[in-house]
């Protein structure tokens, strides 16, 4: 069964109608092809209408869609080979942060990504995609390996935030993220960062310092989630829609404000409707972007990377 979001209800109704009609036609041997074709056309039209006018909160909902492809789905669909590497060499392995060397269309890269779970058990195992300090330290360890062996780095960001837990604090969550920010600026190899789902605050930024930072069309990236923003600024959880509007957290907003470099389109209706098409689109962008970045010298990349982030911010002199 597909999961429909609240604003997809009109589509769900038509799709149910279509299914019923097809079932009836099968049972009664009546030719309903023109009627079903009309209904299908209607569904596509409706979908287009709805998806052209998505609110910011609806995009947040899509970014968290339970059927949305996660890092491991992309790895499976995009990579000819993937060798996963574990552990931060200090405390333990963090299942919320995946890493390893991958072969994407003949290009070997280091791939890092946050990982959510699909069912209750997996979600717990992946800690809902919320890395601990070990996750960030593993990511950095692997990025240094990529630098050593001169392989480009691709990071896939999908997290509701770095984990706010007791042990995470004891082991220096703040320090782990901070260190990644600083070290990633000085990486000599190309770094491409892509928001594939949720990009929540420092937990996202901790693997998102890149020569190119891209967002899939229906994702969000900001300093806080709309829910938490609502609870702090409105002192209630009920203003998440307003908060999402105020935060301007969609791919389009972030591009307009020059806080990211580009947007990767999703299939109509969202990435979850067609993992294969989405992964193919993503793979193409990754290969093109790496080819483009590889033309620059390490010094050029580093200085452009630094200049880009240093230009972000609006102040009045």
């Amino acid at each position: 069964m597909r999961t429909y979001l609240d604003f997809e209800k009109p589509i769900a109704e038509l799709e149910t109608k279509l299914a019923d009609m097809q079932k009836l036609a099968e049972q009664s041997n009546v030719d309903v092809s023109s009627a079903t074709a009309a209904l299908q056309g209607g569904i596509e039209k409706l979908r287009k209408e709805i998806f052209e006018n998505l609110t910011r909160w609806q995009r947040v909902q899509l970014s968290r869609h339970p059927d949305r492809p996660y890092t491991l789905d992309y790895i499976q669909l995009m990579c000819d080979e993937f060798i996963e590497l574990h552990g931060d060499r200090q405390v333990r392995d963090d299942p919320a942060m995946i890493g390893g060397f991958a072969n994407i269309g003949g290009q070997s890269v280091l791939l890092i990504g946050q990982q959510k779970g699909r069912n209750t058990k997996q979600r717990q195992h992946r800690n809902f995609g919320m890395p601990n300090p070990e996750g960030y330290r593993k990511a950095l360890r692997l990025m240094k390996l990529a630098e050593k062996f001169n392989r480009p780095i691709v990071t896939l960001i999908d997290t509701p935030g770095a984990f706010p837990g007791l042990e995470a604090e004891e082991r220096g969550q703040g320090e782990a993220i901070a260190r990644n920010l600083k070290e990633m600026f000085m990486l000599k190899v190309p770094v491409l960062c892509i928001i594939i789902g949720e990009g929540a605050s420092g937990g996202a930024l901790g693997i998102a310092i890149g020569d190119r930072v891209l967002m899939l069309e229906n994702t969000w990236y900001s300093v806080i989630s709309p829910e938490s923003c609502s609870s702090i600024l409105w002192r209630s959880w009920d203003y998440k829609e307003q908060a999402a509007e105020a935060l301007k957290l969609t791919a389009r907003d972030m591009k307009e404000n020059k806080l990211i470099d580009g947007i990767i389109p999703e299939p109509l209706g969202g990435a979850h409707l067609d993992h294969g098409v989405m992964a193919l689109g993503l793979k193409k962008v990754i290969m093109e972007t790496i080819a483009e970045l590889s033309k620059l010298t390490p010094e050029q990349r580093i200085s452009e990377r630094i200049d880009k982030f240093c230009a972000m911010g609006v102040v009045i002199e």
């Binding site: 706010p164 007791l166 969550q173 901070a178 630094i306």
Partner: protein
């Protein structure tokens, strides 16, 4: 009005009030409740002579404690925040900024200065918690970035005094990217082999902890300061239990290996000078 400034623990009266009080007025320690002369308290670097409670102070007071004769050149003092997102929550962001400016006499949540500390040249950036919870927006990021540029250009050490609740939500994505910007500048400072001391004061949390505050060559703090990535309330809600006593205190963070030392504020200037002299 009472003849001393009555204070409740945890709620800080603007330091201006105390500083502007003429000699002969009194200060009551919010921790041990003992009373001392405002002048004595100030000479003691705003710490309690009885129980060593460190009063929460702002940039004015830190500059006075650290710069010789309180002489310094303030950098970028006129930078103020824009409103890139036209952010409105319960009130428009510019109204909030203006009201805070009037109330505090500050332009934003950080001030940066260049001067001498026991004859050693130094750039100091110091946050003001009174300004929207010391939150980090574009002005905070930009002023710190430029202060680091100043350090690099003049080859003088950089001291960052943090005190912040974290991000400035009203600048959303722009606020987030200040973590990146300041970290980039610190990477450059590091390449230039110029010392960076990060002093984390009470409280330092959120995006500030997860960027410049934890990136010092030397991370130091004051007794009892709260230091963390997630705030205590969020952690409590996540784990569904009360937090152990002393959790996220400077002493706890030192014990877990993320601070080099904790220093009494009255010894801060001399200890930093000794450290910097050993590196020259």
């Amino acid at each position: 009005m009472s003849w001393f400034v009555r204070k409740e623990k945890g709620i800080s009266t603007p330091t201006e009030m105390k500083r502007e009080a003429p000699d002969g007025l009194w200060y009551q320690c919010p921790s041990c409740k003992k009373i001392m002369q405002t002048r004595e308290h100030k000479l003691n670097a705003y710490t309690c002579e009885h129980c060593n409670y460190h009063e929460k102070i702002g940039s004015d007071a830190y500059f006075e404690v650290l710069f010789d004769q309180n002489i310094y050149i303030e950098l970028d003092e006129n930078l103020t925040s824009g409103n890139p997102l036209n952010f409105v929550d319960t009130k428009p962001y510019p109204d909030r900024v203006r009201a805070t400016m009037l109330k505090t006499g500050l332009k934003d949540a950080v001030r940066t200065g260049f001067g001498k500390m026991n004859e050693v040249e130094i750039v100091i950036a110091c946050m003001d918690f009174n300004f929207i919870g010391g939150s980090m927006g574009s002005v905070v990021g930009e002023k710190i970035a430029r202060a680091i540029d100043h350090s690099i250009k003049h080859k003088v050490p950089f001291l960052m005094i943090s005190r912040s609740g974290g991000a400035r939500m009203m600048e959303a994505g722009f606020s987030l990217m200040q973590m990146a910007k300041t970290s980039a500048k610190l990477a450059m400072l590091s390449e230039a082999k110029i010392p960076y001391i990060s002093l984390l004061t009470d409280p330092t949390t959120g995006g500030v902890t997860a960027s410049y505050a934890m990136l010092g060559d030397f991370n130091i703090s004051e007794p009892g300061a709260l230091i963390g990535f997630a705030g205590p309330r969020v952690i409590r809600e996540t784990i569904g239990k009360d937090l152990p006593k002393g959790f996220q205190s400077a002493e706890f963070v030192l014990e877990h290996g993320f601070l080099d030392f904790i220093v009494d504020r009255k010894d801060l200037k001399d200890k930093l000078t000794s450290l910097l002299n050993m590196l020259r």
